[in-house]
């Protein structure tokens, strides 16, 4: 036996005698994971998070989370002698005087942007394939939680350097706090340790950003992954794949190599962005003071939709009995986001209420086969895209020779008109795609080759689909795949009638072809 094998054996024995690890390692090293590129989106989130932890720790070794006033005398000359907070000063020091400091700052911020976009992409994948259905509702809730906390964490993170742009964002956040009825001014004074901007806010959000929220993330991500591990990953429908199995590759060696390798790829791409693309150049923004502002002030993209909503809000306030309620802040800043996120969180339960489907699902839906859900998802995305665009309306106006006034009015109207249109169009597209699938199965693939029959007739050769393809395109309407119709007792009363209505609308499908249908067609080519 080689030395390395002897050492490995001895170590394994040492650990196993104390933990009994051999048993669960044996079981888990052979665990099967289905392979599809869209399953890697969640991994991008996970790896970005690790990158954030690593680069973030580096940054804390130099960053000073204090708002005490200092005079800058570092190497960036355009700010020589300028009064600023120690937080801003230490960020400048990191950027100009610490080797690799700016690189780490940039990798950290790019990783944050990628973290959030991967969460959103992963959310889309899970939503449109119905992976949130039983038994994965808890994981969906954790995911919505991760998205929400991610937005907060990112906002707090880029506010730490106390620069003009992020300080403006904090001012706006303080105005939202202040606008809360009854307790707003108190909450603001407690959060900021007194009047805005105060000197307590940055040190406090520092602890939230580096300790409390990362701790929360670690806990939530661990539960999220443990659930995936235990419940096993979902898989796309296809030949050999059933609700009762998982088809894929084993953890060792394939998945370890692919997933482990992908971690390094994410690290590499983030490092690449940090190397070649400037991000958050705080020395250009200048230190924060409430008396200054820059044209084109925006938050990071994942808050851009909030900014767009606030910009588009009508100027509504209630002035009554010596009090003021700012609907122009509360509606876009708290109420609409609250409705969106609550709706998102509750969606699995809403959908299962509509469909009456209480079964487990491990096979994913092809989005076209769930037209209502897909259309709803697209509607929400369109809504967010309109608000996101409005968040950058001044930059769009200058670059595309439009007016901010025009974009604003377009947004105010489009937010109401466009999403329902998007719903209808998407649903129709899904049903069309289902029809196309049906045609494919029944008539085969059009090859584009023309053949003249002995009778003189010209026909196009259609290549029949393989059995595997036929199965994949039709399995979603097999009797055991479809939910049972709602029991009569569930459709009484107003609530029941609404449920029945939604259930019927949701069940609209193009009937998938069966083997009988195919046989009936005979051998016709056309």
């Amino acid at each position: 036996m080689k030395t390395s094998q002897k050492v490995a054996g001895a170590t394994a024995n040492y650990v196993d005698e104390r933990t009994g690890a051999a048993k669960w390692l044996k079981k888990n090293l052979t665990k099967v994971f289905p392979d599809h590129w869209s399953f890697m989106l969640g991994e991008i989130c996970l790896y970005s998070f690790i990158i954030l932890l690593l680069t973030g720790t580096f940054l804390t070794f130099w960053f000073d989370p204090s708002q005490r006033e200092v005079v800058y005398n570092g190497s960036y000359l355009p700010l020589s002698g300028v009064h600023m907070s120690a937080a801003y000063d230490s960020t400048l020091h990191l950027s100009f005087d610490v080797r690799g400091g700016l690189l780490m700052r940039q990798i950290h911020h790019w990783a944050a942007l990628i973290f959030m976009s991967a969460i959103v992409a992963h959310l889309f994948r899970v939503f449109f394939t119905g992976a949130f259905r039983k038994p994965r509702e808890f994981n969906w809730l954790i995911g919505v939680g991760l998205l929400t906390f991610g937005i907060v964490e990112g906002f707090l993170g880029y506010s730490l350097p106390d620069d003009l742009l992020s300080g403006t964002g904090i001012r706006i956040a303080e105005a939202i706090l202040q606008a809360i009825p009854v307790v707003g001014s108190y909450l603001s004074f407690f959060a900021f340790g007194g009047p805005f901007p105060g000197t307590s806010f940055i040190p406090r959000i520092f602890i939230v950003h580096v300790l409390l929220l990362p701790g929360l993330f670690l806990a939530l991500i661990t539960i999220h992954l443990m659930l995936v591990w235990y419940q096993k990953h979902t898989q796309y429908p296809g030949p050999g794949r059933t609700e009762k199995n998982v088809v894929g590759y084993p953890l060792m060696p394939v998945y370890m190599a692919k997933a482990g390798g992908f971690f390094f790829v994410v690290l590499g791409v983030t490092a690449f962005l940090g190397a070649v693309a400037s991000i958050n150049p705080i020395w250009l923004y200048g230190p924060y003071t409430p008396g200054q502002i820059s044209a084109g002030s925006q938050p990071d993209w994942y808050m851009g939709w909030l900014d767009g909503l606030v910009r588009a809000a009508p100027p509504l306030e209630t002035h009554a009995f010596g009090h003021t309620i700012s609907w122009n802040i509360l509606i876009p800043g708290l109420i609409i986001p609250g409705i969106l996120f609550t709706g998102m969180a509750l969606y699995p339960f809403i959908e299962s209420w509509i469909t009456g489907d209480k079964r487990e699902h491990h096979l994913l839906d092809r989005p076209r086969n769930a037209p209502n859900r897909t259309a709803l998802g697209v509607t929400a995305i369109v809504f967010i895209l309109i608000t996101l665009a409005n968040g950058g309306n001044d930059i769009i106006a200058t670059h595309f020779h439009l007016t901010i006034n025009g974009i604003m009015w377009f947004t105010r109207i489009a937010l109401f008109i466009v999403p329902p249109i998007a719903f209808v169009i998407t649903k129709r597209i899904c049903l069309s795609l289902q029809r196309a699938d049906r045609d494919l199965v029944l008539h085969g693939r059009e090859t584009g080759r023309l053949v003249m029959l002995p009778s003189g007739e010209m026909i196009e050769v259609h290549e029949p689909l393989s059995d595997a393809k036929k199965w994949t395109l039709t399995q979603h309407q097999n009797p055991d795949a479809l939910p049972a119709p709602l029991p009569a007792s569930a459709t009484v009363g107003l609530k029941g009638k609404i449920r029945a209505r939604l259930n019927r609308a949701n069940a609209v499908q193009i009937p998938a072809p069966t083997l009988s249908d195919l046989k009936e067609l005979g051998d016709g080519h056309h």
């Binding site: 080797r99 122009n328 059995d467």
Partner: protein, 333 residues
């Protein structure tokens, strides 16, 4: 014609297709070399990182297309780090794709639901041991436990009380009072009416009592924008007109929407634009909101000149400045 509808059947896992490297030893060798090259590139990347860190000076820049004049050390450190990590990943993935077994494997899923026996036993255990604890029977214990836990939960809330003072009347006052001189920001010098021409603006702050340091909190409430128009351009009532001086009008610079500094003055239209959410204020009509989400005009500061001709405030602001809050009496704007 049978009544039974025949459905398509699951044909099972497709035939495994071998990769080149599975059947051809030369292809396998080539794949191995590819993986090796990728790992070597990573090593090169690490060397590049180390060399850039030690040898390249911090302040050297060179010109690259698209990127412009770029810091050499930052770029090389970054590219080195990129190479050192990316190629490990690409190598590992290529290794898995080309050489590791790619036979699809099937594993069975298990029912999550516990056995009926276990469920029943759990319920029994819970009932038995719950009864043994006696919480149900001993209502005195239950109630006092509830009281103790409820009260102890209040202590964290209590301990956070000193995170900040109460706002009290803070929002209602600024450092502007009758006779306070207007000082230029950031120069700090006082300003005369003749210093402004029609169409000119100035950023001003109040003169603070001697020895008082100006903090950002002060600025956040006191910042004022001074604008000079032709007197005939105003469309104001008599009272507001008396708050101006020879066409010079002063407004709080803190947006009444969400507190950004409103200072984009369009000289020809006499509009003030806040760049945060595009609220637009009409200076000729006492900063009335004409577009955007702000619901209240910018508070106007009444100004006049003192004996030496310097611009001074006539009186404090008559309404709280900045964004709204619950206790704000907004009947006067």
């Amino acid at each position: 014609m049978s009544n039974q509808v025949e459905r398509f059947q699951d044909p099972g896992l497709p035939e495994h297709v071998h990769r080149n490297a599975d059947v051809d030893p030369k292809a396998a060798k080539r794949a191995e070399q590819q993986v090796a090259i990728l790992f070597l590139l990573s090593a090169v990347g690490t060397v590049l990182t180390i060399v850039s860190y030690i040898k390249v000076p911090k302040d050297k820049f060179f010109y690259l297309p698209i990127m412009g004049s770029t810091n050499v050390q930052q770029l090389l450190l970054g590219l080195g780090l990129t190479a050192s990590t990316l190629f490990i990943g690409l190598g590992a993935i290529q290794w898995a794709k080309k050489l590791m077994p790619d036979q699809e494997v099937i594993a069975e899923r298990h029912e999550f639901r516990s056995e009926e026996v276990d469920r029943a036993e759990l319920v029994e255990t819970f009932k038995e041991r719950g009864a043994a604890a006696g919480l149900g029977r001993r209502s005195l214990i239950k109630r006092t436990l509830g009281l103790a836990l409820g009260l102890v939960g209040l202590s964290p809330l209590l301990l956070l009380r000193d995170t900040g003072p109460q706002p009290k009347k803070y929002f209602n006052t600024t450092d502007w009072a009758a006779g306070t001189r207007l000082l230029l920001d950031p120069a700090g010098t006082p300003i005369k009416a003749s210093d402004l021409e029609v169409g000119a603006v100035a950023q001003v702050l109040p003169e603070l009592p001697a020895g008082t340091e100006r903090t950002l909190e002060n600025t956040g409430k006191d910042a004022v924008l001074l604008i000079r128009l032709r007197p005939e351009d105003f469309n104001l009532d008599a009272e507001r007109l008396s708050w101006t001086h020879e066409g010079i009008i002063a407004f709080s610079k803190i947006c009444t929407h969400m507190g950004c500094a409103v200072a984009l003055y369009e000289q020809q239209t006499h509009h003030l634009l806040c760049p945060c959410h595009q609220s637009t204020f009409d200076v000729t009509r006492a900063a009335k909101v004409i577009f955007g989400p702000a619901a209240r005009p910018l508070p106007q500061l009444a100004i006049t000149v003192d004996a030496n001709g310097y611009l001074v405030a006539k009186q404090p602001f008559t309404v709280p400045v900045g964004p709204s809050f619950w206790e704000r009496n907004s009947s006067n704007g």
